[in-house]
Structures are given as structure tokens and as C-alpha cells.
């Protein structure tokens, strides 16, 4: 089995890991990451600490050590990049990011090594974008961190049901904590007196509150990306939301949050199959 990881999945695994428990299990999968993915990991893995006071130096050091372990899994043969144009045409995808290069690498490995390739990403649009190409061409499959945790649980004797529940709930907390904080910030936001006659700002604030209440992360991200376009109206709002930039960039959806929550419940109600030795 060939496994490729996208940046967000590796970042999630590193953030929710306790000690090196998950990292050890991941090593067993003999996974690969593209150079672009590794660069994205290095750039973004510390974003969550950006506003943490005091800066968690100890955690940063631990993550640095884990990153060294990931570095040795970079796929060094750059020939796969020759497939870029073909995949771009086949998928109609225009960006040259980590998820695109992972798909290109999957196509390359599948073509020459004749194996099915599994990609794991938590970027929901990317998952939807590349699934048809990977599946229709029998190149491989694409899953997310939840699927990956289930796989690790099933393949490792040391990974028990409590661990699965724990790590799924930690994954949920990674996203839910930000949404809960965002909800509180927006609910307590007071429009500055100078802007009380600014209807656009009030409308936008109401849209944000509604998107949060509906757990519509896609709409929330869309609103956030629109804010810098009208600094006069939305400047103060944007300043508040900027702190959550990393969360918006993660490209998750409400449906994904529901999936994590339901999988936490499945651990007890409809346990995942694990062969009992």
C-alpha cells in the first residue's frame, strides 16, 4: 500500500499526537509526502501558536523534532512533476499546491509501480476535486484524518478503542475550539459608535453569526475572504477575524465536523471492525 499525506493531515496528526504515539503508527504505513507538501507543513504547522501568550516554546521544540521525522519521508524523485500538465488537463485544476502535487505523484506511482495509492487530506474542496480523477482512473482513493485514524486503529494492536475515541475527539477539538471562540467573539462584538450607521457592517455581522450558528464553515470562509475588499466598512471586523486566518485556510466544512462527531459516537455504538488475534 502506498500512502501519501497532504499538509493539513500531517499538521493535524502532529497537533493531536501525545508523545509520539501517532507518529510511530504512521511510520508503519511507510508514507510519502511531496516536497511542496513538506514546505506547506513547515510554513503552517506553527500558525496555531501565533496568538498564544506566552509562546509555547516547549511544544514548538517537540514539533520540530517530529518534523525531522517527516522530512525523511519526502519523495525525492522529481520525475513525477512531468505528469503535472496531464493531471492539470484531466482535472481542470489550476493551482500548483500540495494537494495537486500529491495527486500528480499518485498518478505517477500508480502508472509505474502499478499500485493503488491512498491520499489523505482534510482539505474538503481538494478531496472533492480530485476524487473523481483518482477513482475513475483507478489510481487510488482519497480520505481524511478521520479515515486515517480508523486505519491506524485497525492495523495496530497497540491502538485501542479508547485511543481511537481520544484522537478523534482531539481532532474535533482542534476545529471546534476555534469555532466556539469565534462564536463568542462575534456574539460579543460591539459595533464602534462611529460606525453605527454602517448598515453593510451590520448585515455582514449577521451573516457571520448565521454561518457560525449553521456551522457553515464554507460560507464563513467566503465572507472572511470578502472582508478586505471593503476596508472602510469591514476593517474592524476583519481585524478581529484575522486571528483565525489559519482556521479559514484549512478549508474544512461543517459536514466534516459532523463526520468527526459521528465517528466518535460510532466507536461505541457501531464499533469499527478489528480482527481479534
Amino acid at each position: 500500500m502506498v500512502v501519501l499525506f497532504d499538509a493539513c493531515t500531517v499538521i493535524n496528526m502532529v497537533h493531536i499526537d501525545e508523545g509520539e504515539f501517532l507518529l510511530k503508527q504512521l511510520r508503519g504505513l511507510e508514507f510519502q509526502v511531496c516536497k511542496t507538501v513538506y514546505d506547506e507543513i513547515s510554513t503552517n504547522i506553527f500558525n496555531k501558536f501565533k496568538y498564544t501568550i506566552p509562546y509555547p516554546e516547549k511544544e514548538k521544540k517537540e514539533i520540530d523534532v517530529k518534523l525531522n521525522n517527516i522530512r525523511s519521508h519526502i519523495y525525492n524523485n522529481q520525475h513525477y512533476l512531468d505528469f503535472c500538465d496531464d493531471v492539470k488537463t484531466a482535472t481542470n485544476y489550476s493551482k500548483s499546491n500540495g494537494e495537486f502535487h500529491s495527486t500528480v505523484l499518485a498518478a505517477y506511482i500508480n502508472t509505474f509501480e502499478k499500485v493503488f495509492v491512498h491520499i489523505y487530506t482534510d482539505d474538503r474542496p481538494a478531496l472533492k476535486e480530485f476524487l473523481p480523477f483518482l477513482s475513475r482512473n483507478q489510481i487510488g482513493s482519497i480520505g481524511d484524518s478521520v479515515d486515517l485514524l480508523v486505519l491506524l486503529y485497525r492495523h495496530n494492536e497497540a491502538f485501542n478503542r479508547n485511543d481511537l475515541k481520544k484522537y478523534l475527539s482531539k481532532l474535533f477539538a482542534e476545529y471546534a475550539g476555534v469555532i466556539a471562540e469565534l462564536e463568542k467573539v462575534m456574539m460579543s462584538y460591539e459595533i464602534p459608535k462611529l460606525l453605527v450607521r454602517n448598515q453593510k457592517l451590520r448585515t455582514k455581522l449577521a451573516e457571520i453569526k448565521k454561518a457560525i450558528a449553521d456551522l457553515n464553515v464554507t460560507s464563513l470562509r467566503k465572507i472572511y475572504l470578502e472582508l478586505p475588499g471593503d476596508k472602510a466598512s469591514y476593517g474592524t471586523l476583519f481585524e478581529l477575524l484575522k486571528k483565525y486566518d489559519d482556521f479559514f485556510k484549512k478549508n474544512i466544512t461543517g459536514e466534516y465536523l459532523e463526520k468527526i462527531k459521528s465517528y466518535v459516537k460510532y466507536v461505541d455504538s457501531e464499533p469499527f471492525y478489528k480482527w481479534a488475534n
Partner: protein, 358 residues
């Protein structure tokens, strides 16, 4: 618009039945020994945090105590910690509020009785020793406070061994036992404090904790309740949020804690007439010329205008009503309009409510 913080700005306006429910529970807790757990449930901006601030006011508590002829309650208000170690954070936040010198002075003449009482609190000589040290003046209070914060050195800890404190605080069970023991001591014989009111805000954030931390929070709460069988009234504020609904309660609050919930106070979306009464009362607290005869109690708002505005707002939480009226007041002030009539409101409705109503 968030709840007022400054004590002199915290008033209770309207909603007499909710106020009465709290008063009854607090008075009962002051009079009888039983401990109980109460859930306060409502939407964002429905008044739960405000209720905590109002009932935490020294003036409010003294008044209630006077009515039942009891010592007043000892009030502890905390927001549920969201960090990686919520129990440690909870414990630290409670220790932050403990004024050792104040308690020592208060209990100076009761030390013998209190020490005998401590001997009955927990069959654990270590916890008993820590509790005794809190109240006895022969241990430096700063050293003891640092010990409670777990920031003493090994040699400092050694110096505490004379008091029977033979080890450092080592586990979450220690945290809950020390806090529970302290709560019991503070309310000893209901002499200086009749009960402890332990009010936790934003308890809905238990839904975003990892499972391990949520389990620990439940255990901590259960242990506090179990180890403080008397004179403890816990309020948990729970807000309906994007990630938490009352139907999900069972997912996050353990059976052991749920079974200890005695009452639920619902902060419902207010009816129109209740909101009008609330506005009347609230305005009365801010009148600079209350004796001005002939002026409406709703001044500067006119009643038909308020009805039209509330109809337009529909099922809005109290905070939204406050926000909208505040905005209307700001705009009217800019336009130098007073009183605020229905015609003025109609003219500016889009600006005030528009399509941002929530």
C-alpha cells in the same frame, strides 16, 4: 453588547419569575445544609452571565442573607477553562480567589472547633493537614499560597512537614479534595458564610474539550459535589451554541453529574410585554430626573414605537433588544431627536434593523 461588569451598573430589571427562582434557591441553600446543582440554560445574550454578576454582588447577597437571617454566601465565579489542562486551571482559578489572611482573621477564635471539624471532613491526614495550615497562623500565608499553586521548592515543601504536610499536591483528586474541604471549612457551622455559591460560566465549552478533558471535568465536578455534601450551591451556565444543544447534554455531562442536577432555570426568549417591563425598569435605573412628572416611564422611547420595533425583531434574545435600542438611541442622539417616535423609527427602520436582524 456584553453584560455590565462594574458593580454599580449591575441591576436586575424585569423578569421577576427568573429572579425569584434564583432567590429561592440561594435562600434555601443559606438555610438548609443540602448541596445542589442547578443548570441555567439559554441563548447567547439571554442574561445568564448577567444573573451571575447580579447574584454575586455583595449588596444582593447581603440583602438575601438578611431576609433569611443567615450569614451571607461565599461567592465563587469562574469561566470554564478551555486550555490543555482544564482541571489544573479550574483549581488554580479557585486558589486565586482564596485570601488566606482574611480567612485566618475571620476564624481566629474558632480554630479549635474548626480543627476538630477538619478531622471529620476526610479520612485523609494529608488533606486535613493542608486545610488546617490554611487557617492556622503559624504557617507563612505566602508560602502556603505558593504551596497551593504548586510552585514551592522541595526544601520549602520540607519545611511544611512540621505541619503534617508530607508531600506536594500531586493529583487531580488532591485538587478536588482540597477545594471541597476548603468549601466545607468556609461554611463551618454556617457561622461566617452560610453557603458557597460556585458559579461556572460557559459550561457549554465542555463540548469542545477533548474526551479526556471532558471526562476529567465531569469527575472534578462530581468529586467536589460528593466531598462537599453540605452548603454548596453550584450553578452551571449553558448556552445554546453552534456546537452545543440542550439535547446533547447527555453526551457531555456524565450520568454521575447529571443525576445531581436538581433544577434547570430556562432563560427563555422573552414575551413582548415582559420585554417592555424590562425596558421600563432598566431605564428607571438611569434616570437623572426620576421625579419629572408626566413623562412616560419608557422615555425617550414611545410605547407604540417600542411595540413596532419588538414586533420587527421577533424572537430575539435580550442582548439583541439592548443592542437595537442602544443603536436607535445613538442615532437619535446624533440627529438630536427626543423623544423617539414611531415616525422617526419608521424612517430609520432599515438602518436600525434592516436585514441584519438576528
Amino acid at each position: 453588547m456584553t453584560p455590565a461588569i462594574s458593580s454599580e451598573e449591575i441591576y436586575w430589571a424585569g423578569f421577576p419569575s427568573i429572579k425569584e427562582q434564583f432567590e429561592k434557591l440561594i435562600k434555601r441553600s443559606m438555610r438548609i445544609p443540602n448541596s445542589s446543582l442547578v443548570l441555567n440554560w439559554g441563548e447567547y445574550g439571554s442574561g445568564k452571565t448577567h444573573a451571575a454578576r447580579y447574584f454575586g454582588k455583595d449588596e444582593t447577597l447581603s440583602q438575601l442573607a438578611e431576609e433569611v437571617n443567615s450569614a451571607k454566601p461565599y461567592f465563587v465565579f469562574l469561566t470554564l477553562p478551555k486550555g490543555r489542562s482544564p482541571i489544573n486551571d479550574l483549581y488554580t482559578a479557585i486558589v486565586d480567589k482564596i485570601d488566606i489572611d482574611y480567612f485566618r482573621e475571620l476564624f481566629a477564635n474558632d480554630l479549635e472547633d474548626l480543627a476538630n471539624y477538619i478531622n471529620t471532613i476526610d479520612n485523609n491526614s494529608y488533606i486535613q493537614a493542608v486545610l488546617k495550615a490554611i487557617f492556622q497562623a503559624n504557617v507563612d500565608s505566602n508560602l502556603l499560597k505558593r504551596y497551593l499553586y504548586q510552585s514551592t521548592s522541595a526544601s520549602e515543601n520540607k519545611s511544611l512537614s512540621e505541619q503534617g504536610i508530607m508531600r506536594g499536591i500531586g493529583s487531580e483528586t488532591d485538587y478536588s479534595k482540597i477545594i471541597a474541604g476548603l468549601f466545607s471549612c468556609i461554611t463551618f457551622q454556617k457561622k461566617y458564610f452560610s453557603t458557597i455559591i460556585f458559579w461556572v460560566d460557559e459550561f457549554e465549552d465542555i463540548a469542545i474539550m477533548t474526551k479526556v478533558n471532558a471526562d476529567k471535568t465531569n469527575s472534578f465536578l462530581r468529586e467536589i459535589i460528593d466531598n462537599t455534601p453540605n452548603n454548596l450551591l453550584i450553578f452551571l451556565n449553558l448556552t445554546q451554541s453552534a456546537l452545543f444543544n440542550i439535547e446533547d447534554l447527555g453526551e457531555y455531562i456524565s450520568e454521575a453529574v447529571k443525576s445531581r442536577i436538581k433544577t434547570r432555570i430556562n432563560f427563555e426568549i422573552p414575551k413582548r410585554e415582559d420585554t417592555i417591563e424590562y425596558i421600563k425598569e432598566l431605564l428607571s435605573f438611569y434616570r437623572v430626573d426620576p421625579a419629572n412628572a408626566g413623562r412616560s416611564e419608557l422615555f425617550p422611547y414611545e410605547q407604540d414605537m417600542l411595540i413596532a420595533l419588538l414586533n420587527k425583531l421577533g424572537n430575539a434574545a435580550l442582548r439583541s433588544v439592548n443592542e437595537t435600542l442602544g443603536l436607535l438611541l445613538d442615532i437619535a442622539e446624533m440627529d438630536e431627536i427626543s423623544p423617539i417616535t414611531i415616525d422617526y423609527y419608521n424612517e430609520h427602520e432599515a438602518e436600525i434593523i434592516g436585514n441584519w436582524k438576528n
